[in-house]
């Protein structure tokens, strides 16, 4: 068993929303990473079966995307932005401070497995520089003192941020009776009714 029962059910639902199962690959990898904190070989093999790909194709695709991990990272992944707007307001100094205060190199994980510090590219909070994300949740205008406080809060479990791998806390779900219907492209060659009807009206 490599995906929990709940995740197996979730995976089946997600696959049903795409005209081709392979399109569900990235969402399913996220599901696995939320479950285990990183992508296990077992989960990738199971996902390969589910989307009709080989395990090598799954790993080869996952490896293209920076967020997917093949080994455990800290409970909290701290991404400090140093791209241009943050550079102008001390992003590099903030990254340096983060590494010093947690006693890790960039990319390293603290001995207790709590924190991994990485250098991020632009995370789209440029006016709030210098900024960072903890498990992809934003903190803006972060001074070194703010950073230390944030680490304290995270250690104490006060920051309200889930462990690495969890992204949205709300998932999309479509009630079966509300789904318009998803079919492979080769089964949807007709113009949709509202468009077809309009054409008839236009002719009239």
């Amino acid at each position: 068993m490599t995906l929990s029962d709940a995740n197996e059910a979730q995976a089946a639902e997600i696959i049903g929303w795409f005209p081709r199962p392979r399109s569900a690959l990235i969402p399913l990898l996220h599901l696995a990473q939320a479950q285990d904190g990183y992508l296990t070989d077992g989960a990738m093999r199971r996902i390969a079966e589910l989307v009709g790909a080989t395990p090598a194709e799954v790993k080869g695709t996952a490896g293209f995307y920076e967020m997917f991990r093949f080994e455990p990272v800290g409970t909290y992944l701290v991404n400090v932005c140093t791209n241009i707007s943050c550079l102008l307001w001390g992003g590099e100094e903030l990254l340096e401070h983060a590494c010093e205060s947690l006693d890790v190199e960039v990319g390293g994980t603290t001995d207790d497995g709590m924190f991994t510090v990485e250098e991020a590219e632009c995370i789209a909070a440029c006016t709030e520089a210098p900024c960072l994300q903890v498990n992809y949740r934003y903190r803006g205008r972060v001074t070194p003192a703010d950073f230390d406080r944030l680490i304290e809060d995270l250690r104490a479990g006060r920051a309200g941020i889930a462990g690495h791998g969890v992204l949205a806390q709300v998932r999309q779900s479509i009630p079966a009776e509300r789904l318009a219907g998803v079919v492979p492209p080769e089964q949807a060659r007709e113009a949709p009714v509202w468009l077809a009807r309009n054409d008839v009206e236009a002719v009239r």
């Binding site: 081709r20 100094e93 318009a180 949709p192």
Partner: protein, 485 residues
């Protein structure tokens, strides 16, 4: 904090962000100033992302208005509004829609919410603060064009945006706005959220489609140039930006003529600009398109209020990390694609990064180049190798290891990625070379890395030279024969 500040200036103190003064604590970064608010009007409400707030502030009225018209009439309305794409290229949405080949169903709609261009963020705010407006925009497009499937692709790193969109879609399905028989009509569309996993290149529309097909996000070979011909699963596909689609509800309620009452004739409506850097009041502003100038945006009381105390403007990036850089002589250009393009850059993704006189031009250029080197997908050799070489050469210049030939070498590598005269901003009476550049690559990522290098060499060559005039002989490392390498 051992090393000197990255850009040369000490970061403190940060700009004042006390509540009031247009700054909304629940929407960090957005600044509510005077001026028309077509797409950010709800941001002032803390619960702007809920269906209840959306419906009580005119939500889904644009969809209802559209459903009273024929699909062709909706398309005509969008075409006559000259709604320009907000993703970067600025192509008119109504014209792009018209590229769908008749009868080749199914068509797909893919929403590009993979916002990652350095300096850019407005789609994130639109997704977090007003997801229903985006959903309504998708529905209007689907109705007009006969699309039954929409995929809303959100950047992987934007957890809150994913959460807000998922919640909004759940509400909208429940309330009958999305799914089977929308608003009791024979109009049925499924909207499914997909999300990425960390790859800038996926913002390129054909790479986005590859990613949505469950593959490595590498751009497809052109032609065909437009996914409208061959897109998702080989079917005609419209890829629209989040901000573009977010304009549709207002447009359908108020009509194209009202829309054209804002902005300039060739660039109507409003546009969101993220203005960051060494400013008194950096922020994301909704601005009248085409009429406001860079000077007003950077110095105006209603906008950023000028450069931080005691400093002066040195340079600015007018349209995201990919754009050639501008200088004080460009301040009076309007925020409009054509004049900005004629001056040798692009308005791009609505991201303006302002740098003051403390900024080290070489270091700033290096940081942007480093981004492109990291994000190159590796498909095209000139980009894969060239961006890395540019980064390494800039790095050694900054480290005091630069060689006198390095400036020419940088330009030569740039010429291999983007041959011919590279677009540069006009200054001192020189002619600008118009954007976009020629390229030896499939997509514009490679040429984008050339932009900061050429811009800064042309303008601040002496800064490069001063860093490489130090000429210690390069130490020759003699490896004894038989020693391990």
């Amino acid at each position: 904090m051992g090393t000197p500040s990255a850009a040369g200036g000490h970061p403190a103190p940060l700009p004042d962000r006390s509540a009031g003064d247009g700054y909304l604590p629940h929407a960090p970064g957005y600044v509510l100033n005077d001026g028309p608010k077509l797409i950010t009007g709800r941001f002032v409400h803390e619960d702007s992302f809920t269906l209840a707030r959306y419906e009580s502030t005119g939500g889904y009225e644009g969809l209802r208005a559209a459903l009273e018209m024929t699909p062709a009439a909706v398309h005509d309305e969008v075409r006559s509004a000259t709604l320009l794409g907000r993703g970067g290229a600025g192509f008119p949405a109504g014209v792009k829609w018209g590229f769908l080949p008749p009868g080749k169903h199914p068509y797909y709609l893919v929403v590009n919410g993979d916002e990652s261009e350095p300096g850019t963020y407005k789609d994130r705010l639109l997704m977090e603060r007003d997801p229903h407006q985006l959903i309504e925009g998708c529905l209007i497009a689907c109705y007009a064009l006969g699309l039954q499937q929409c995929f809303l692709y959100v950047r992987g790193e934007m957890a809150l945006a994913q959460e807000r969109i998922a919640a909004a879609l759940n509400e909208a399905y429940e309330a009958g706005y999305v799914g089977r028989g929308i608003c009791g009509r024979d109009f049925s569309v499924d909207i499914v959220m997909a999300w990425g996993a960390g790859a800038y290149i996926v913002g390129e529309e054909t790479a986005l489609i590859e990613s949505l097909e469950g593959r490595r996000g590498m751009p497809r070979l052109k032609p065909p140039y437009f996914p409208a011909a061959v897109g998702l699963y080989g079917q005609p596909t419209i890829v629209n930006n989040v901000e573009t689609l977010s304009n549709l509800p207002w447009l359908m309620v108020n009509g194209a003529d009202a829309y054209k009452g804002f902005g300039s004739e060739s660039s109507p409506g409003t546009r969101m600009f993220a203005v960051s850097g060494h400013l008194r009041r950096p922020g994301v502003y909704e601005v009248e398109h085409g009429v406001t100038t860079f000077r007003e945006l950077i110095y105006g009381d209603n906008f950023c209020r000028g450069i931080r105390d005691g400093h002066e403007l040195k340079m600015f990036i007018p349209g995201g990390g990919s754009a050639p850089w501008f200088f004080e002589d460009h301040l009076d250009l309007p925020l409009e694609a054509r004049p900005v393009g004629a001056a040798g850059s692009m308005l791009g993704s609505g991201a303006i990064v302002v740098m003051d006189d403390t900024t080290d031009a070489v270091r700033a250029a290096w940081r942007v180049v480093k981004f492109f080197a990291r994000e190159s997908c590796g498909k095209c050799t000139p980009c894969r190798e060239g961006t890395t070489w540019l980064e390494q050469i800039l790095r050694r210049i900054l480290d005091g290891e630069g060689r006198p030939s390095d400036i020419d070498l940088l330009l030569d590598i740039g010429d291999n990625i983007s041959p011919g005269p590279y677009p540069v901003a006009a200054h001192d009476g020189a002619d600008a070379v118009p954007f976009p550049p020629r390229q030896t690559t499939i997509c514009p990522l490679g040429p984008s890395a050339v932009a900061p290098v050429v811009s800064t060499i042309r303008r601040f060559r002496e800064e490069y030279e001063s860093k490489i005039t130090r000429r210690d002989p390069i130490p020759l490392e003699v490896v004894p024969a038989g020693a391990p390498q």
